[in-house]
Symmetry: C2
Subunit: 328 residues, 2 copies
């Protein structure tokens, strides 16, 4: 099943409205958004019941449905607070999935709401599989357009994080879907956790290889090739990479190795990455990397530094502080 037939199958009543106008590729849309907002901040939407602000935290006897409703309200309020400040938000699928079908329904609503408010969405779901299964994941997540267009997808994201462990052949169904729907990918290249080196830093020592590169570097070279194929006039393509802020030396090397690729940088703040660490990911124009903060922004009501009249004031203050740190 091709992505086109999927889109029309899913929306048969509107298939005659299919919009075949050229889509603006994700790489260019992200350039435009970062230039418009004048900063590279990505707000991570990682709701957890026990950390929600008191005014919307469900009680101890709340049902799963009530918890999912609280996640939706919480994320809508955050989007209302940050949509004029930052170019992109990143929902973490796992926290919604933990609440079962109600959580997944809330996730879809959160993504649609962000799109409606004019902020880009990268879905952090780290999906990866082979062949037609990869195509199904791509069809599920990639595309933020209206129903009846080739850019529609059920979960409605502009971009998706993907896991390359199964091999670079398994990225192809995702890149095809990006091309058809104007969406983008962030391929895991070097993650921010302490144990990421176990596989990612391994040096290829096969007899056929004389390059001595690590797996992360091998992946980065492939991502650069894919990014270059979709590169727009501002120099960045729609296929990017995830490189953690917790390894600033590697981030700088990765920036050089992938001049055409957007880099999504997790690990800022709570995980230990600093503003000077993450600047290695950006070019002189302030483009090329988006810097994610989740807990540091969305749970800012717990931080005395950002206290405000409402919990959303704390979110706003923490966001403005991060923007200031990254752009000063």
């Amino acid at each position: 099943m091709t992505s086109d037939s999927k889109a029309s199958l899913a929306n048969p009543d509107k298939s005659t409205q299919s919009n075949n106008a050229p889509l603006v590729p994700f790489g260019q849309r992200l350039v435009d958004a970062v230039l418009a907002k004048k900063n590279p901040v990505c707000v991570g939407l990682d709701p957890r019941t026990s950390s929600l602000p008191e005014s919307i935290r469900p009680g101890a006897t709340a049902s799963v449905k009530e918890q999912a409703d609280a996640f939706r309200v919480f994320c809508f309020e955050i989007i209302d607070t940050v949509h004029e400040l930052v170019p992109i938000v990143k929902p973490q699928a796992a926290f919604f999935e933990e609440l079962g079908p109600y959580g997944m329904d809330a996730l879809a609503q959160v993504v649609r709401y962000a799109t409606k408010r004019g902020v880009l969405v990268v879905m952090d779901a780290k999906r990866g599989d082979i062949g037609t299964t990869a195509t199904a994941y791509a069809n599920a997540f990639l595309g933020s357009g209206p129903e009846g267009t080739t850019a529609f997808s059920p979960w409605g994201a502009d971009a998706l994080t993907v896991n390359p462990f199964l091999g670079i052949d398994t990225l192809e169904p995702f890149t095809q879907r990006c091309h058809a729907s104007g969406s983008g990918l962030f391929v895991l290249v070097k993650t921010s956790n302490p144990g990421s080196g176990f596989l990612q830093d391994v040096i290829d020592g096969s007899q056929l290889s004389t390059t001595g590169v690590s797996l992360s570097e091998k992946l980065a070279s492939h991502v650069e090739m894919l990014a270059a194929e979709s590169r727009g006039t501002d120099g960045y393509g729609s296929i990017g990479a995830v490189v953690g802020a917790t390894y600033p030396h590697q981030l700088a090397a990765m920036r050089e190795r992938m001049p055409s690729a957007w880099i999504l940088v997790p690990g800022y703040g709570a995980q230990g990455g600093s503003a000077s660490d993450v600047k290695h990911g950006m070019d002189a124009r302030g483009l090329g990397a988006i810097i994610n903060s989740s807990r540091g922004i969305i749970f800012a009501h717990d931080n005395p530094k950002y206290r405000g009249a409402e919990w959303t004031d704390s979110v706003r203050n923490a966001t403005l502080d991060m923007i200031e740190s990254l752009t000063s």
Copy 2:
């Protein structure tokens, strides 16, 4: 949030019923199921609208909800047909996710139904992430017990496929949840696709390493350690591995490297793996590996060899044929 507090939060009304009786570990439950059914067949539930039997295939104008309903009916009928024949089924999350929230709701119902019919369920979702995010995925999928017990999870599976790319530290939240809920894991070690060698076959050539093992072998050694920790009286633990049937030589070597680990073997049939290929995964008692077939069984109505009065007769005939091939 620990997995226990999650389980009670999700089911507050029944938290006083928490069942703290010792849980039978997944590794032992799979031994029991394979011995009871006298075969290692795993039926892959990979529904796709265009391949459904004519009698339940939704029309060209069907809504997403109608498609999800058809997936549910299709999978329920397959479970009715095979639950007395095989020990375990494997839903592929991607095909349900492709239909959005309606699809995910159907997936949860399919898993519950399989449990009700007495067949084990391994959820093929290939999840993987770090820290508390990995915990959220583990809480989402792992545990097939009733609400109000520590073995309850929203998606209700007995086991989950997981992707180790982020590092072996990221497996720990999953193994902890397995221990708390009597569930299991299959860690991707060597996948069945043609490009799986790009990362998985890389030989570790770092100066610190003198072992010359591939990444797959490195992962397998870690899986064996985790499996041995949870090993039951029949010799198999609850943490296993995925090793494709399409690389029979590696499958034999992996069997030796992981004597305590169950191996989930994809790639049989449609992907080219034969009965003699997959026998390398089993021990002399016929234990140690479960062999998955998806399309070859669930879409057997398309195969003249298995034609029957009803499409479920084709499913039954294809299942019996596969059992015969693997046990003769």
